[in-house]
């Protein structure tokens, strides 16, 4: 009984994430897709442009050292489809992000999924097409 409840509660956590199509991404080879890095810090800049929407974050590690990270998403079209806009982030926001880091060790990453903005979990959502 306990196991069933645990499984159900786990499923309820995972399933509601809206399925945004996984777009094949150029530059896959440059990222270490086996790793996840969790960043906690402050947004310094948010760029809503092509080829990629990207976010700059000053992230502090456990020792209190700051690194200047840049995290990329996909195109404005793709991000818009996932419910993002040019005001999803702003400078000064406190964020917690899961990112896939770049292989060459620079503080560069790609959004992996989990995004918390000023304490609120950001849920990507697909906007409905007209006439639906």
């Amino acid at each position: 009984m306990r196991n069933k409840l645990a499984i159900i509660s786990l499923a309820l956590v995972i399933l509601p994430g809206v399925c945004v199509p996984l777009f094949a991404h150029h530059g896959n080879a440059a990222y270490d897709t086996t790793k996840t890095v969790t960043l906690k810090g402050t947004v310094t800049e948010y760029t809503w442009a092509n080829p990629h929407v990207f976010l700059k974050v000053d992230a502090k590690d456990d020792s209190g050292n700051t690194s200047h990270w840049v995290i990329e998403a996909q195109s404005t079209v793709t991000q818009n489809a996932a419910g993002w806009s040019r005001t999803t982030f702003k400078a000064g926001d406190e964020v917690t992000l899961d990112v896939i880091p770049i292989k060459n060790g620079s503080p560069i990453g790609r959004f992996k999924g989990r995004i918390v903005i000023n304490g609120t979990v950001f849920k990507a959502g697909a906007q409905p097409a007209p006439g639906q």
Binding site: G27, A30, T120, A124
Partner: protein, 298 residues
């Protein structure tokens, strides 16, 4: 007693896990902060499953007009494996009939992703310099939405990804004999029956790739498209590549590729490649991360 406590603990746990979702800003709420009436602008087509079982009215005669979604294909409209009817998958039926010159030119193209993904330092996909997609690549790669309008003498064709447009002349003119190449070539079209529109295109610039895996073409390329209006909501697009310098025989690049009609309220998003934005991306991310859009990786 212990069982009840365990049940209570799990219930509280589930409730705690669910509460962030209930509190979280949903997309419409966030959109209200940044955009007015988000559902009216920058639309995306619905998921494929939405169309299942939907009945359509009969096809209108001699009419291609509307906004069409290419994302119901097996490749979701993205087609990074190459021309959908001839993907680069190693299967014998998908062997491209290269001439020796065609094979030579094919080896020189170094894609950034897909089955022929190249080393970062070698990638030379011209799209990363913000070159136009050109025709037929705009139909064989990232076919997301297109918009078609008809006038008495023309079919006007607008393409979302990289923002290309083409004019297909229906006034009976002949194709040019020795044209100065254009990125999208020169097109003429005619109805062969009330529901099938056939287009011929010549004069395409050699610099463009046919598809995302880098199949080449020469100035001898002639592309035939067949748009077949199946019913009111559905169209099928077939395309033949005929380039005797590169290929020993014509081959099918699209085979009844499904296009799905959207509402006439559908606002196509804009995706333009701007060299200034590409440069900004490269200086912040591309160059530092060794990503293929970086000119350092030519």
């Amino acid at each position: 007693m212990r069982r009840r406590l365990a049940l209570l603990a799990v219930t509280l746990f589930v409730g705690w896990m669910l509460s962030p979702m209930l509190r979280a800003q949903t997309a419409p709420a966030q959109a209200a902060a940044g955009q007015a009436e988000p559902e009216k602008w920058n639309n995306v087509p619905p998921r494929k499953s939405t169309y299942a079982g939907k009945k359509s009215d009969p096809a209108p005669r001699r009419d291609l007009s509307g906004i069409w979604d290419g994302a119901t294909s097996a490749g979701n409209g993205l087609e990074d494996q190459g021309a959908p009817a001839m993907p680069e998958d190693g299967k014998p039926e998908h062997q491209i009939p290269f001439t020796p010159l065609g094979l030579e030119k094919f080896k020189l193209t170094k894609p950034s992703n897909g089955p022929r993904q190249s080393e970062l330092g070698e990638i030379n996909d011209p799209l990363y310099m913000c070159d136009p997609m050109g025709f037929p690549r705009l139909e064989l790669f990232e076919l997301r939405t297109i918009e078609i309008a008809q006038t008495a003498k023309q079919v006007i064709y607008l393409n979302e990804y990289y923002g290309q447009w083409r004019i297909i002349w229906t006034d009976g003119r002949e194709l040019p004999k020795d044209p100065d190449p254009r990125w999208n070539g020169y097109s003429v079209g005619q109805w062969v029956d009330d529901y099938t529109f056939v287009v011929q295109t010549v004069g395409m610039k050699e610099a463009t790739w046919l598809d995302n895996v880098g199949r080449p073409h020469s100035d001898a390329l002639r592309v035939e498209e067949r748009f077949h209006r199946v019913d009111h909501d559905n169209m099928e697009l077939s395309m033949t590549i005929d380039d005797p310098k590169m290929y020993t025989k014509p081959w099918l690049a699209l085979d009844k590729y499904p296009l799905r009609l959207q509402s006439d309220d559908f606002d196509m998003p804009e995706y333009l490649c701007a060299p200034s934005e590409m440069g900004d991306y490269n200086s912040q991310i591309g160059n530092r991360g060794g990503l293929p859009t970086s000119p350092n990786n030519k």
